[in-house]
């Protein structure tokens, strides 16, 4: 019996990252720009997707992948109801979507007809941040009722963001939310992060977000 040391040096999430790379290629070939949309439960992810569809139609075709831990189609039904394709992925209790799950979702969509793919991740501020899906940008929807200390408590998700949306600004008069304190935390973790303050209830701030997104879609098409 001999004991040997075998050198490995392999990233533990290597298998996920390789599938993510393939997803990115598939999306690029189809010309679909994609967003990994993360947030805590109830922050307004689905509401924000619906507002985005409304703001960009009819010129932009949007497809949606809905990740849920339970086999319910509530969110996908809401997207289908406004006439856009949506597929539901049940994570089987897992706290996040991973690249393999997204790959299965992509196979159910006609990607060539889609300009923008939005992936609604599972409501959770910790786990989704660790799994690359192969999407083009990471977006977090933070909402006023969650409190102004969230960047301080969940720093990892803020570090990896490309865009931050602060939702439910209509509730600011009713909740002690120190916007300065919140933004200071974000600035420490992700200096200069592109940020939009919106209300999916009143529609405030959605135009600025939609303009920015149109710009990104145009830029992506030119590559």
């Amino acid at each position: 019996m001999t004991v040997n040391r075998v050198q490995v040096v392999e990233n533990i999430l290597n298998a996920n990252d390789q599938v993510a790379q393939l997803n990115r290629q598939v999306l690029d070939q189809a010309g679909a720009f994609s967003i990994n949309l993360m947030a805590s439960p109830g922050a307004g992810k689905t509401s924000f997707i619906l507002k985005t569809i409304q703001a960009l139609r009819p010129e932009v075709n949007i497809g949606v992948v809905e990740g849920d831990t339970a086999p319910v189609t509530i969110d996908a039904d809401k997207i289908n109801a406004v006439g856009m394709p949506a597929v539901q992925i049940n994570t089987g209790g897992e706290c996040h979507l991973d690249a393999v799950m997204l790959k299965a979702g992509l196979q159910q969509l006609s990607l060539s007809e889609i300009d923008l793919l939005i992936v609604e991740n599972v409501g959770n501020l910790i786990c989704p941040a660790a799994f690359d899906l192969g999407t083009h940008i990471n977006l977090l929807v933070a909402s006023i009722p969650e409190g102004d200390d969230k960047p301080y408590k969940y720093p990892n998700i803020y570090r990896g963001l490309d865009v931050l949306v602060i939702n439910k600004t209509d509730l600011l008069p009713y909740i002690d939310f120190r916007m300065d304190y919140f933004r200071q935390g974000v600035e420490m973790l992700n200096p200069g992060l592109t940020t939009f303050a919106v209300s999916c209830k009143t529609g405030e701030g959605i135009d600025a977000w939609a303009d920015w997104l149109r710009g990104r879609l145009t830029a992506a098409k030119q590559v």
Partner: protein, 115 residues
């Protein structure tokens, strides 16, 4: 937490490398995990014990090497170790920091027995 998915990956990687080395059994697995990663060692260990059962990795001991978080200041180029999650550069007060170390998440090596 996603320790279940992580533990599955650890088993897959260790098994593949052990088979490549034509090993009979894996005795030790050395993991390098940065302080910024949100993985809890104890939960990985918890899943590991049942998941590795009846595999080439049964009974293998997991070793976690934790790497402290080090940040590099983008303004003065100084490096410092992060004590809490959010603190400015101690030299110049800047928050424009890049992660220099502490986001590692890999398997360094395994120890195996050959028949």
């Amino acid at each position: 937490m996603h320790e279940l998915a992580v533990t599955e990956s650890i088993l897959e990687i260790a098994t593949r490398h052990a088979q490549q080395a034509e090993a009979a059994r894996v005795t030790d697995i050395y993991l390098v995990i940065g302080q910024l990663s949100s993985i809890v060692d104890d939960s990985v260990q918890f899943y590991w014990d049942s998941m590795a059962e009846n595999t080439i990795c049964q009974g293998a001991e997991l070793h976690f090497k934790r790497i402290p978080a080090r940040m590099r200041c983008q303004d003065c180029q100084g490096e410092f170790e992060l004590a809490s999650q959010l603190e400015p550069c101690p030299a110049c007060g800047s928050y424009r920091l890049a992660v220099a170390a502490g986001d590692e998440f890999y398997m360094e090596s395994i120890e195996v027995e050959k028949a």
